[in-house]
């Protein structure tokens, strides 16, 4: 009897899931709108990129705070705050008359997503019966895996037909439904307690991330070796070193950076970073290429990246299963070869890529991502010792349970 997931818990997970989904859909559909935004607001590439960069910067500052937020505040208050912030951000972008205001909308959305992304998994871990945790983690991961496949195509269709502002308008009612659903269903399992936030650490995280992103973004204004580029990057690097020293020496660091002493683990983290770097780089380049170089509509740009994105979503549940059978090394190795082949093809045909080439080469690259991304994470967590492996265990469970999830989905059809 206790193994049943109650309707309320299920609704809570769905409500939080809708938020994560909407966050990623807006993020991935934005890249398709860049050429349009550049025309509408009369801005260049290095300015328009702030739509994505600023948003991700805010999300990456908020996410490390999730453990503290969860301990200090009620889950429902967090959810409502996140959702209302997101809705406000969407409303601002819906009507924003200037690009600056558009960015402010994205910042507020970033605050909302940053709180909401870990919330779904927290609700699952805390409220779902232990036997069903793996299954629900699978559902949660599937939601975030499908979103990047939906985003560009959705964005392309909306931009080409009714205009980019409708991306926000269409998501608005969905977010309101999620808000109502969550307000009704989210329950509190653990008692909130006062936790002390280490403010210097938070400040250092902000300086590190903001410094690096601002420095690299400034390269787009022309001169790579200007003070505007180098100074923020150096400040960012100094801040990360101080943050590391501090997190090793104090009792309750915001992020436990001491696990990076394990070089095997940090190797995985670096590779994971690079892979995500390449994936986001591709999702920036390709839609722009299709629209500006090949002179196609946003709709076509969305369609061209759809097969690759869909392949990525399909592999999210499959790759864990493959890893269970043959271990992590082989799928990752094969993935790396696929990735190198895909990128090599992109480079060779660099300035005269046809739409078909982009579609096919991107498929090859996404095969790489599908085979390696999840496995790098799992393999990385498996290098941690017993002390840190609690988190590792949870992730391993989720990969093993994917098949269970797929069977369930088939039954629901």
């Amino acid at each position: 009897m206790n193994d049943k997931i109650s309707l309320k818990v299920l609704l809570s997970v769905i409500a939080a899931g809708i938020m994560s989904f909407s966050g990623v859909v807006i993020e991935t559909s934005m890249n398709i709108t860049f050429p349009t935004l550049m025309n509408d607001f009369n801005i260049n590439t290095s300015t328009v990129q702030w739509m994505t960069t600023m948003y991700l910067l805010i999300v990456s500052i908020v996410i490390p705070l999730s453990a503290i937020l969860k301990r200090t505040f009620k889950t429902k208050s967090l959810f409502i705050t996140a959702n209302v912030l997101f809705i406000i951000g969407v409303l601002i972008d819906l009507i924003a008359p200037s690009f600056a205001l558009l960015i402010i909308g994205r910042v507020i959305q970033g605050l909302g997503t940053g709180i909401a992304l870990p919330l779904m998994f927290n609700i699952i871990l805390e409220q779902v019966p232990s036997k069903k945790i793996g299954l629900m983690m699978g559902v949660g991961n599937l939601i975030t895996a499908i979103a990047p496949a939906v985003g560009p195509t959705f964005g392309g269709i909306v931009v080409s037909s009714i205009g980019w502002r409708y991306i926000f308008l269409i998501l608005l009612p969905i977010l309101i439904i999620s808000l109502l659903m969550g307000s009704f269903s989210i329950e509190q399992k653990s008692k909130p307690q006062h936790t002390k936030l280490d403010l210097p650490s938070l400040l250092l995280i902000v300086i590190t991330f903001a410094g690096l992103v601002y420095g690299f973004s400034s390269m787009g204004s022309g001169s790579i070796l200007s003070l505007k580029v180098i100074l923020p990057i150096i400040i960012g690097l100094i801040a990360v070193i101080v943050l590391y020293k501090r997190s090793v020496n104090i009792n309750n660091p915001i992020v436990n950076l001491s696990i990076l002493k394990n070089t095997k683990f940090s190797g995985h983290v670096i590779a994971f970073f690079i892979l995500q770097f390449i994936t986001l780089g591709m999702s920036f380049i390709l839609p722009n290429y299709v629209q500006i170089v090949n002179n196609q509509s946003a709709f076509v740009a969305g369609l061209i990246v759809l097969p690759g994105a869909a392949l990525g979503a399909v592999f999210a549940p499959l790759s864990g299963k493959i890893m269970d059978k043959v271990g992590a090394y082989k799928p990752i190795l094969f993935g790396m070869f696929a990735g190198l082949a895909g990128l090599l093809l992109f480079t060779i045909f660099g300035t005269h890529l046809s739409n078909t080439m982009i579609l096919v080469f991107y498929l090859v690259y996404m095969l790489c991502l599908g085979l390696s991304f999840g496995n790098i994470m799992t393999s990385g967590l498996s290098t941690l010792d017993a002390n840190d492996s609690q988190m590792g265990m949870l992730c391993l469970i989720q990969f093993n349970k994917y098949l269970e999830l797929l069977v369930l989905l088939l039954f629901l059809q």
Binding site: N44, T45, S46, V48, Q49, T52, T53, L56, L57, S60, I63, L117, P118, F209, L212, V213, F216, S217, S218, M219, G220, S221, G222, N256, I259, H268, V269, I270, A271, F272, F273, I274, Q276, F277, I278, T279, L280, G281, F284, I285, N288, I292, V293, N295, G327, A328, Y329, I332, L333, M336, G339, L340, L343, F346, T347, G350, T351, H352, I376, S379
Partner: protein, 66 residues
Amino acid sequence: MFNTVQQISGAISTSIISAVVAISQMNPNYSKQLGTAIGSEHGFILLIILLLLAAIILNKVVRRTK
């Protein structure tokens, strides 16, 4: 850890790649079309170097046995 890395990596990536593309777009000798194409090509080259680096690191850190 992986969650945060995923977001900040995306932010840094978008800023660097857009800068690479923007630099070629600003070259007065190129049309916007050609500038974007060349900038994208530079982007691909950067990405392939990074992937090679990732492959080398992974080859060292991923356990070969089951």
